[in-house]
Symmetry: C2
Subunit: 90 residues, 2 copies
C-alpha cells in the first residue's frame, strides 16, 4: 500500500449563478482593481489515499468527489494529482 | 492587452484547525471508505485578468489572493495558471 495525494477542484457549472463570484467582482472597484472578469468561486479539497495502486486511489477520489465534495446538479469537479514531496502552498 | 486566466487555491495553513476537513473524515466511515487521511478543505477562485503582460496580470492576482481571497493569518494560497483554451472541468 502506498500514499497518493490528490486535490479535487469543485466549481459552479457554467451557466449556474455564482453569488460569491459576483460578490468578488462587486468589491474590485473598492480595491481599485480593473480588468478582472469571469470570477468563479468554488472549493478545493486535498486528501491522501492509502491504496495498492494509483488507479485504486483515484477511484476512491472519484467516488468522494461526486458523492461528498460536489453537487453534480450544479457543480463540476476536476481531480488533480498532488506531488506529496513538493513544498506546500505558501 | 490580453486575457490571462488564473486559479487561486486557498487552504488552511498546516497546524490550523480545519473543521470541514475533520467533518469529511468523520463521514467516510458512513460511506464505507477506508484509507483516506489528511483531508484539507479550502477554496478555489478562478478569474480572468486583462493586462498588458502576464507579469502584470499575475501581480493583480497576487494582490487579490492576499487581500481578498485569503486570510494570511490562517490560510496559505498558491496561484496556478489556467489554460484558457483547454476544456473546462467536467
Amino acid at each position: 500500500m502506498s500514499d497518493f495525494r490528490f486535490a479535487v477542484n469543485v466549481l459552479p457549472k457554467d451557466g449556474i449563478l455564482d453569488p460569491q463570484g459576483r460578490a468578488v467582482e462587486g468589491s474590485l472597484g473598492h480595491l481599485g482593481v480593473e480588468g478582472v472578469s469571469g470570477v468563479r468561486v468554488g472549493r478545493r479539497v486535498e486528501l491522501t489515499v492509502d491504496a495498492a495502486t494509483e488507479a485504486d486511489a483515484r477511484a476512491t477520489v472519484e467516488r468522494l468527489a461526486s458523492e461528498l465534495f460536489s453537487n453534480p446538479l450544479i457543480e463540476s469537479f476536476a481531480i488533480e494529482w498532488v506531488d506529496i514531496h513538493a513544498g506546500a502552498a505558501r
